[in-house]
């Protein structure tokens, strides 16, 4: 016999969590080994309680290690942004639900728009007549349901099944610590009918994206700002933010904002990496070009005048 937690706790399968809790407490008191109860029975009670507790827990996505498995399950995917993953945002997921009658054929499984033929059972009469032991009976034709004709083609929508697999939407939080490519798991019961595994497919959100395991914020700034080490604006998980470029900062280097990155499962945070791409316009107005030339000449002259050279770093 299958392990039935409801039976063991002595409650009906419709019981709510309060009822389950009450039943467990009462029974646990009676069968606790310390009070001379049977150990096996107590363990069975405990296991039942845990199973039902899990079943009644609000739906929660978990990070799943290993490969999806089980008797019934669905492997789906979640399209989310890097930001949503990093902060464990609430997302809408679509999960399978109980089947619904096919709206196209109304559950008959036959195409109502397709060809029809005369019902051969009732000769198109819709009624059949036969002699009973005492009198003649007229009954509605069981084959065509009294219509006198039969739909020939099967329903293209449900392909003859008469029902479609249902769907429902759930608002769920992404678990903290999830990373691109991870598989998230939604246990059956809490959310939908079957276990669902979601493969996380992470897309960039604005300037933020995961590169490997790291969350990277990329900024594009013009070369003069970079040269002047001016304040630049970057995207962080908390929104846009101004950042002072360190005086010795060079292109290709990465800035690290400690503990400003994605959350880990334990509530702590990783670092946020800032990568800065320098932007060189290819076209200048004649005026700007002249000024740039002027500046270039000035700088080159300065360089020459100081043969020892300035510290380039």
């Amino acid at each position: 016999m299958k392990f039935d937690p409801y039976r063991i706790l002595g409650i009906s399968p419709g019981a709510d969590i309060e009822e389950i809790r009450r039943a467990f407490r009462e029974k646990a008191r009676r069968f606790h080994p310390d009070l001379g109860g049977q150990k096996e029975l107590f363990l069975a009670l405990k296991r039942s309680y845990e199973i039902l507790q899990a079943r009644h827990a609000p739906a929660r996505l978990e990070i799943f290690k290993g490969r999806p498995q089980g008797d019934h399950y669905v492997l789906s995917f979640l399209d989310v942004t890097a930001r949503e993953v990093a902060v464990g945002a609430a997302v809408t997921v679509v999960i399978p639900d109980k089947p619904v009658p096919c709206p196209h054929c109304g559950g008959s499984g036959h195409n109502p728009a397709g060809p029809k033929r005369k019902c051969l059972f009732c000769e198109g009469e819709g009624m059949i007549e036969f002699s009973g032991p005492e009198r003649r009976l007229r009954i509605v034709c069981p084959r065509c349901g009294g219509k006198g004709e039969i739909l020939v083609d099967i329903c293209p929508k449900c392909r003859g099944k008469g029902e479609l697999s249902g769907e429902k939407e759930l608002e769920l939080s992404l678990p903290l610590g999830a990373r691109p490519g991870d598989i998230l798991y939604l246990p059956p019961g809490a959310g939908g009918e079957v276990a669902v595994f979601f493969e996380l497919q992470v897309h960039p959100s604005g300037c933020l994206n995961f590169e490997g395991e790291r969350l990277v914020s990329r900024a594009l700034i013009p070369f003069w700002r970079f040269a002047l080490r001016e304040k630049i604006s970057i995207e962080t998980l908390e929104g846009p933010e101004d950042l002072d470029l360190p005086a010795d900062f060079q292109p290709g280097q990465t800035l690290v904002l400690p503990r400003r990155g994605p959350w880990r499962a334990d509530g702590s945070r990783e670092d946020l990496y800032v990568k800065i791409d320098v932007f060189f316009p290819s076209d200048f107005s004649p005026k700007a070009r002249n000024k740039l030339k002027e500046l270039a000449e000035f700088l080159e002259k300065e360089e020459k005048d100081a043969p020892s050279g300035r510290d380039r770093n």
């Binding site: 290690k65 290993g66 490969r67 999806p68 498995q69 089980g70 008797d71 019934h72 399950y73 669905v74 492997l75 789906s76 995917f77 399978p96 051969l120 059972f121 000769e123 084959r143 099967i154 293209p156 929508k157 392909r159 003859g160 697999s165 079957v194 595994f197 493969e199």
Partner: protein, 905 residues
């Protein structure tokens, strides 16, 4: 319960779950020793166990996990390949971990037992061997090791130990290094364990003391006791057990037979007991061979993800019934066909997201893998909601490939066309798959499935999706079978193929119809092809009074096998056939019967192929037969044939006396008439093109004869090909072809088909062919014929006219009634089932009218039942006949008229 206790409990629960998964993963690892993802997963699991063990301070557990992890990391990084020895060692490690977890669960403490520490030493040595192999035999010293070791946390003490040893050290003296390292490792370990370990490890390779000797020989892990006990058993051992159980079943069968001869109550009792136990034993052993299909299903998430990614499609995979169990050997065998089908579904079935949105589907496609039990078989379905299969394109491709002619394509049903996918040579090039969808190697898939005694079936709706359904037996080794005899020999037929048994008596033999070379048995409106087992076996068959017909299902079709006798039904053990039997496709194996003699097991699929009938034809006949199960009144058996390949003709099958084939050289001209020597007589031949404006019969080596008989007279149509015989409802269009000899046209099997007036044509050929049995007076008798079906109306009218009657027709009872009011007739011939006013109502009305009270009435039906006859007589009908039995109708009509008018005279 304290906090620690709770956490420990959680740890144990989690560890047990992990270990269960490890078992499965190792099994898979044997199949795919280089699977990175699998190795990483195993590595992670072991790593987790190690970490938690460290947290609790379970040193032995931590150390075992550590060394296992060490080996795994080398495998994962591809430095060494997981060979049998390595996997074996890892499996042992898992077994030890299990044992420790079991002990923890029981006592909360690690077990104190030498075997664990002994194993730890073995494992550590092995890990070192693996490490050496990974470094290419230790040629290269690893400078980094000590540095790494320094960084290692105290928790990872064993790691430190192993990495600290440089290859040089090991070369110098492995044992020495070991001791040192062990000591180092054990410095962290509590209590007495380390010292014991040290004792053991420090022993060089000298013979061990008696106490520890067994562990060296017997490396099997200690007796483990997890709450859910699993013991690893060699598959070979299971196979042997299975074979032995098979032998036992045979011996049992034999004993039962002997016991039944010697009627001894005690012996009977004992054998009965043995019988029961044997059955149970066999069932239990069979169970050990059963595995959940999840073993295969669970590898599809990854395949589907990879395929979806590479094709840019979005796919939800739904797995249903992964716990459904099947024999292990079958699971192995269906892996490849399933992978193939899943690939096809994603490659060619499911559309890319944009296309899906354009046709009003959700962008994400769904692929369902479903397994369930159904009547001793497992059904596996691969279902997608993709574009479906375009039958037209399949046909087109098949024509291009030269598999069928355009004419054949035109006359093919959708079902037949779908079956083309399974033909060898349908799809070899890739471009085919782009056009037609599925196809690559589907013939191979089908063959593989059929080899397992299974069947494959496709259902598709263009634009909506495709379902491929495999039906596979649960197990192969011991099967219930029906034992039949043929010419004194016994043969076993697997019970799973059996549909029905029919005793062949003179009465039931009436349901046998000869069509061309084939015989069909009419089973509740269904035409089932039948074949004689003797013919299949190629043995000389003695004519018999009472034979039996075994109706079988080969997966693709039903057919009947005529056997001499049904012998028994018993469980048989399948034995493979010897080499010299390999070529014979009609046997699936052999078995030893209760009396010790061998019987061959018939391969139902193989035999169905030998019948030489197109599966598709039979399939369709079946479908149409099922549809025709209701409304016998309107359904007719029609014979379809060609004269030239382009034109299709039809005649009622019931009119044909025989179908036969003749060689062209058997035709001769005698006195200006073409004849054929047939059954010792010369029979005139009718070439239809001589009487009808149709394409002539092409020159052929062999022709088909449609033989018609009237008393002693015989005549035959010469035709090129019998297309089919089907049961269908004929909706005749009389307007299109107003030609003598043609009743009308109808679309049959998607082709315009001319329905020929056999009587008219024969009369045109030989006006004296039909005997005149009209009781001729000075004027011909006037017949009023009431019949709603134009097909029958015209045909009956024609044969009545040919027989010398004057015929007036009415389309229903009411029209007939009206004509009766205006004109006078000598006789009424009426159908029973008619719209507006049926035959019975008409008859009652006639009998109620004084002027018509004496009008002879003959009723015609498709099939005359006793109940109909009685009702007819009550309504005042004088005669009852079957429409197509022309001779009887004419004879009865003549008698009826004679009776009535002789009486009147």
């Amino acid at each position: 319960m304290g906090f620690e206790e709770d956490v420990l409990k959680d740890f144990i629960t989690e560890a047990k779950e992990n270990l269960e998964r490890l078992d499965e993963e190792f099994v898979e690892l044997e199949q795919r020793p280089e699977d990175k993802e699998l190795l990483s997963s195993i590595f992670r699991t072991i790593h987790t166990i190690k970490g938690t063990a460290g947290f609790f301070g379970f040193k032995t557990l931590e150390a075992i996990a550590h060394f296992a992890e060490d080996i795994l990391s080398k495998l994962r990084d591809g430095l060494v390949v997981a060979d049998e020895e390595t996997i074996d060692m890892l499996l042992k490690a898992v077994d030890y971990i299990k044992a420790i977890i079991a002990a923890l669960e029981e006592t909360g403490k690690e077990p104190v037992d030498d075997t664990y520490l002994d194993f730890l030493v073995d494992l550590r040595n092995f890990a070192e061997k693996v490490a050496k192999r990974a470094e290419g035999g230790g040629a290269e010293a690893k400078e980094a090791s000590p540095a790494e070791a320094k960084e290692a946390s105290p928790k990872e003490a064993p790691a430190e130990a192993s990495q600290a040893s440089s290859p040089e050290e090991k070369k110098e003296g492995e044992k020495g290094a070991e001791t040192k390292e062990e000591a180092q490792a054990k410095a962290e370990a509590p209590k007495e364990e380390p010292s014991k370990a040290e004792e053991k490890t420090s022993k060089p390779e000298v013979p061990k003391p008696a106490a520890s000797a067994p562990k060296k020989e017997d490396k099997s892990p200690p007796q483990v006791h997890l709450t859910e006990t699993h013991v690893r058993v060699d598959v070979k051992l299971l196979d042997q057990l299975m074979n032995l159980a098979g032998e036992l079943v045979l011996s049992r069968n034999r004993l039962v037979q002997i016991a039944s001869r010697i009627s001894d109550a005690e012996l009977q009792n004992a054998t009965q007991n043995l019988s029961l136990v044997t059955t149970e034993l066999q069932e239990k052993i069979m169970k050990t061979r059963m595995q959940p299909i999840g073993n295969v299903f669970n590898k599809f998430p990854r395949i589907v993800r990879d395929l979806a990614r590479s094709t840019g499609k979005k796919v939800n995979l739904r797995i249903e019934g992964a716990d459904t169990e099947l024999d292990r050997s079958i699971i192995d065998a269906i892996k490849d066909p399933l992978t193939h089908l899943v690939r096809n579904s994603i490659d060619h079935g499911i559309e890319d997201p944009d296309t899906r949105v354009q046709v009003g589907k959700p962008p994400v496609g769904t692929l369902v893998l479903r397994a369930y039990h159904e009547g001793g078989q497992v059904v596996i379905e691969i279902e997608d909601d993709g574009r479906g299969i375009d039958v037209k394109k399949i046909k087109q491709k098949a024509i291009e490939k030269g598999l069928i002619t355009p004419a054949e394509a035109e006359s093919m049903s959708d079902r037949e066309a779908l079956a083309l996918i399974f033909r060898p040579g349908f799809s070899t090039a890739q471009k085919v798959t782009n056009i037609s969808g599925r196809g690559v190697g589907m013939d191979v898939v089908k063959t593989n499935v059929e080899k397992l005694g299974g069947s494959i079936d496709i259902q598709t709706v263009l634009g909506a999706g495709t379902t491929v359904r495999l039906k596979i037996p649960l197990t192969l080794a011991i099967i219930p079978a029906l034992v039949v005899t043929c010419e004194g020999q016994r043969y076993a037929i697997p019970q799973v193929s059996l549909r029905e048994l029919v005793g062949l008596s003179p009465e039931t033999r009436k349901n046998i119809h000869q069509i061309g070379d084939s015989e069909f048995f009419r089973l509740r409106g269904e035409m089932v092809p039948i074949v004689r087992l003797a013919k299949i076996l190629g043995v000389e068959a003695q004519p018999r009074e009472n034979e039996s017909l075994v109706i079988l299902n080969s997966g693709a079709m039903d057919f009947g096998l005529v056997v001499d006798e049904i012998w028994d039904s018993e469980e048989i053990v399948v034995k493979p056939l010897g080499k010299h039997f390999k070529d014979i496709s009609i046997f699936a194996g052999a078995t030893i019967m209760g009396d010790g003699k061998m019987a061959l097991i018939l391969d139902v699929v193989g035999i169905s192929r030998k019948i030489g009938l197109k599966v598709e034809d039979v399939d369709r006949a079946k479908e149409e037969g099922a549809q025709a199960a209701y409304g016998e009144e309107e359904q007719q058996f029609i014979l379809l044939f060609n004269v030239s390949p382009e034109e299709q003709f039809a005649i009622p099958l019931a009119l044909v006396a025989r179908l036969d084939k003749i060689k062209a050289d058997k035709l001769e001209f005698v006195g200006g008439k073409e004849i054929v020597q047939y059954r010792g007589r010369s029979m005139p031949i009718i070439r239809l093109e001589n009487f009808l404006p149709i394409q002539p019969l092409p020159e052929q080596e062999e022709y088909h004869l449609l033989v018609f008989a009237e008393g002693e007279n015989e005549v035959a149509f010469l035709v090129s090909r019998i297309v089919d015989s089907i049961q269908t409802h004929v909706k005749l269009d009389e307007r299109l072809y107003q030609i003598e000899g043609v009743l009308g046209s109808a679309i049959v099997k998607d082709k315009t088909t001319l329905f020929l007036d056999v009587y008219k044509i024969i009369e045109m050929h030989d006006p004296n062919f039909f005997l005149k049995i009209v009781p001729q007076e000075e004027r011909p008798y006037r017949v009023l014929l009431a019949e709603d079906s134009p097909f029958f109306r015209q045909m009956i009218a024609n044969y009545l006219v040919a027989a010398g009657y004057e015929v007036e027709t009415a389309a229903d009872g009411l029209e007939a009634w009206e004509k009766l009011q205006k004109e006078s007739f000598d006789v009424l011939v009426t159908d029973i089932e008619m719209p507006r006013m049926n035959g019975l109502e008409l008859a009652k009305k006639i009998r109620a009218e004084e002027r018509l009270a004496d009008l002879p009435i003959m009723a015609l039906t498709s099939l005359a039942g006793e109940e109909d006859r009685r009702r007819g007589l009550e309504a005042g009908i004088d005669e009852y006949q079957v429409k197509l039995e022309r001779a009887k109708v004419l004879e009865a009509l003549a008698n009826l008229l004679n009776r009535k008018y002789a009486k009147a005279a």
